[in-house]
C-alpha cells in the first residue's frame, strides 16, 4: 500500500514477475493498481541479458550464426534467415534457387509451429492450463521432429549459411513434410472447434487491449500484432525477399485491434502458410544449395553497413551490421520484434483489469531470449 492518489483512492504497487508462469520467462512488470484496474505499468527488462551483440563482435561472421538460434528459441530457423539475409545484403551474395525454396519451406514451417505454440500459450494465460497447450505442443513436436531430421536438432538448428543453407534435404524428407502438412488443416479445424466458439474465450479476448492502427505504427509494432490493428503491412510482400514474389498468398488483417483479432490472425496466418508450403513443395527445383563463392573460413564482407529484415513469426526481425572489412563484425545490432512490440504494452493495459494484463501480454507473443538478448 503505497500512495494516496486522487480523492481518497488508494493504489497498490505490485511487482509482477520475473518468476511468474504467465510472463513467458523472466519478464517483470511493475504495475500500479487502483483496486483491480491498472493505472500504470512499467516493464523491467534484463533478467536474461547476456550481451549477445558484444559477444558477436568477438566472433567470426559465421560464429554468430548458432547464437542467433538462441534469440527467439521458439523459431530459431527464421532468426538464422534474418542474419543470413543481412550478411548477404552486406556482401552482395546471391542465393541459389533451391536454397531459397528450402528457406521458405523451413521458414513457413517455423511460422506454423510458432503460431501453434501461441494458441496453447494464450490459453494458458487465460487460465486454461492444460488441454489446449498439450494439443498445440503435440503438433509442434511433429514439426520439430521434421526439423531434427533435416538440421540435426529440434531447436538449435544452425541451418542457414551465407549464400544458402548448410545441407540439402535428406532423401524422403520432402515427402514426409508434405504428408504431414496435409494432415495439419484437420488439426487446425479441430483446434478452432475447440476454441474459437468458446464463450469464455470470447469474453476474455474481445474488446481487450485495443490498439489503433495509427498508434501501432508510431509505436513500431510489427508482424501479427500490427496487422491485427488493421495495417496491411507484411514484409514478405513489401520487400519481396527470397522467392516470396513467386508464391501466392493473402495477408490477413484485423479490424478492431483487440486480443481476439490477434488470436484469430494467427490462425489465418497458419492457413496462408499452408498455402505457401504447398506451392513451395510443388515448385522446388533441383540444383545447388550453397553459393560456392562464399568461404566457410575467413569470410570477410567488404567495408560498409547493411540493414536486412525478414517477416519473422513474431514480427519484423532486423539485423543492422557494420563491417570494417575484417573477419569479425564491427557492429552487430538486432532489431528484436518481441522487445519493440512491448513498447505499447502500457497503453494497451492501462484501464484494464489485472487479469487482462496477462492476456494482453500473451497476445503480443514474446520470447524473453529475444527481448533481453
Amino acid at each position: 500500500m503505497t500512495e494516496a492518489d486522487g480523492a481518497g483512492a488508494q493504489t497498490l504497487d505490485v511487482s509482477l514477475g520475473p518468476q511468474h508462469p504467465s510472463t513467458h520467462g523472466v519478464f517483470r512488470m511493475n504495475v500500479r493498481m487502483d483496486g483491480e484496474t491498472v493505472v500504470k505499468l512499467q516493464p523491467v527488462f534484463g533478467y536474461l541479458h547476456r550481451n549477445h551483440e558484444k559477444l558477436a563482435e568477438g566472433k567470426s561472421w559465421l560464429g554468430s550464426m548458432p547464437f542467433t538460434d538462441r534469440l527467439d528459441y521458439i523459431c530459431p530457423i527464421t532468426n538464422n534467415w534474418g542474419y543470413a539475409l543481412a550478411v548477404e545484403k552486406l556482401a552482395g551474395i546471391e542465393v541459389p534457387d533451391r536454397a531459397e525454396y528450402i528457406r521458405v519451406i523451413v521458414g513457413e514451417m517455423t511460422r506454423i509451429q510458432n503460431h501453434t505454440a501461441f494458441l496453447g500459450f494464450i490459453l494458458g494465460d487465460m487460465g486454461a492450463w492444460g488441454s489446449a497447450l498439450m494439443y498445440a505442443f503435440r503438433e509442434r513436436e511433429k514439426i520439430l521432429d521434421l526439423f531434427e531430421g533435416l538440421t540435426g536438432a529440434r531447436m538449435m538448428a544452425n541451418y542457414m549459411r551465407f549464400g544458402g543453407v548448410r545441407c540439402d534435404l535428406p532423401a524422403g524428407w520432402l515427402e514426409k513434410a508434405r504428408a504431414y502438412i496435409e494432415t495439419y488443416p484437420a488439426f487446425l479445424d479441430e483446434m478452432e472447434k475447440f476454441l474459437t466458439g468458446n464463450e469464455i474465450l470470447l469474453s476474455r479476448l474481445q474488446g481487450v487491449g485495443v490498439m489503433s492502427a495509427e498508434r501501432a505504427i508510431n509505436g513500431g509494432l510489427s508482424g501479427p500484432v500490427l496487422r491485427a490493428s488493421g495495417v496491411d503491412y507484411d514484409i514478405r510482400k513489401v520487400d519481396g525477399y527470397g522467392v516470396y514474389p513467386r508464391l501466392k498468398f493473402r495477408v490477413p488483417r484485423g479490424t478492431v485491434g483487440d486480443c481476439f483479432d490477434r488470436f484469430m490472425l494467427r490462425i489465418l496466418e497458419i492457413r496462408e502458410s499452408i498455402q505457401i508450403l504447398q506451392q513451395a513443395f510443388a515448385q522446388i527445383p533441383q540444383g545447388p544449395i550453397l553459393n560456392p563463392a562464399v568461404k566457410t573460413r575467413g569470410f570477410k564482407p567488404p567495408v560498409g553497413e547493411a540493414y536486412g529484415r525478414i517477416e519473422g513469426p513474431k514480427g519484423e526481425l532486423g539485423f543492422h551490421l557494420v563491417s570494417d572489412g575484417g573477419e569479425k563484425p564491427y557492429r552487430y545490432h538486432i532489431r528484436p520484434p518481441s522487445l519493440i512490440n512491448l513498447t505499447l504494452l502500457e497503453e494497451m493495459c492501462v484501464g484494464t483489469k489485472i487479469a487482462d494484463v496477462m492476456v494482453i501480454l500473451g497476445s503480443i507473443d514474446i520470447v524473453l531470449g529475444e527481448v533481453d538478448r
Binding site: G63, P66, G152, A153, N158, R166, K193, G197, L202, R297
Partner: protein, 209 residues
C-alpha cells in the same frame, strides 16, 4: 446449434474425442504420442547431432586423422576445444595432437568445427545420455574418450560417412595420380637427359672427324 454455451459444449466434445481417442489410436500415434523413456527409446534421425568426436581409421594411435592444425579451436564459437600439438623425443612438432579436450558443458553442438575441419577428422556424435555428478572430470572429454572409429561413424551417420570416405578416396587417388605423373615426368626427364648425353657422345666423334 447456437444455444447459449454451445461453444463450450463443442469444445468439450473435442476434449472427449481426444481423451477416449488416445486409448485407441496408439498405432497411428495421432493422439497419444508420449514415448515412455527410458523403457522406450526414440529412433534418432540420421542427421541428429549432439557433441563432436574424433574419427580414426584402424588403430586409435596411428590412424588418428587429426593433425592438430587448431582450426576448429579457433573457429569454435563458445571456445570449448583445447588442443596441444605433440612433439617427438627431440622436441620436433608432430602432426598429431597430444591433448585434445572438448568441454561438453560449454559445447553447444553447432557443428561449426565439423564444417571448418579440412582433414575430415572431427564429426558429430549422437549420444545424449551424458549427465554426471561432477562438472569438471566427466564433462571435459579428453582425446581418449573422443576417439571413435570410422566404423562407429558409419553406424550413426551412414550417408554422411559414405560421402566422407568417397571424398578421402578421391583425394588419395588424385594424390597418387599426381605422384605417378610426377614420377613419370622425372623418368621421362631422366631418359631425355640420358638420350641427350648419348647423342652428344655419339655426335662428338663426328665433329672431331
Amino acid at each position: 446449434m447456437n444455444f447459449p454455451g454451445s461453444g463450450i459444449f463443442k469444445g468439450m466434445v473435442v476434449s472427449a474425442i481426444n481423451l477416449f481417442g488416445s486409448y485407441f489410436d496408439r498405432a497411428h500415434a495421432k493422439r497419444l504420442i508420449t514415448e515412455q523413456y527410458p523403457e522406450e527409446r526414440p529412433t534418432l534421425p540420421e542427421a541428429s547431432r549432439s557433441f563432436p568426436f574424433l574419427v580414426f581409421d584402424g588403430d586409435p594411435e596411428k590412424g588418428i586423422r587429426c593433425v592438430a592444425c587448431k582450426i576448429c579451436e579457433k573457429e569454435c564459437p563458445p571456445q570449448c576445444i583445447l588442443i596441444e600439438q605433440d612433439r617427438d623425443e627431440n622436441g620436433k612438432l608432430l602432426r598429431r595432437p597430444k591433448v585434445f579436450n572438448i568441454d561438453i558443458s560449454v559445447c553447444m553442438g553447432c557443428q561449426i568445427c565439423v564444417e571448418s575441419c579440412p582433414f575430415e577428422s572431427i564429426r558429430m556424435d549422437n549420444i545424449y545420455e551424458v549427465s554426471s555428478y561432477d562438472r569438471f572430470d566427466s564433462l571435459v572429454l579428453p582425446k581418449e574418450k573422443l576417439l571413435k572409429s570410422n566404423e562407429y561413424y558409419h553406424s550413426i551417420h551412414p550417408t554422411e560417412a559414405a560421402e566422407t570416405d568417397a571424398r578421402i578416396e578421391a583425394a588419395r587417388l588424385k594424390k597418387e595420380a599426381a605422384a605417378k605423373a610426377a614420377a613419370q615426368k622425372m623418368a621421362a626427364a631422366k631418359a631425355a637427359a640420358e638420350a641427350k648425353a648419348a647423342a652428344e657422345q655419339s655426335s662428338q666423334p663426328e665433329s672431331q672427324a
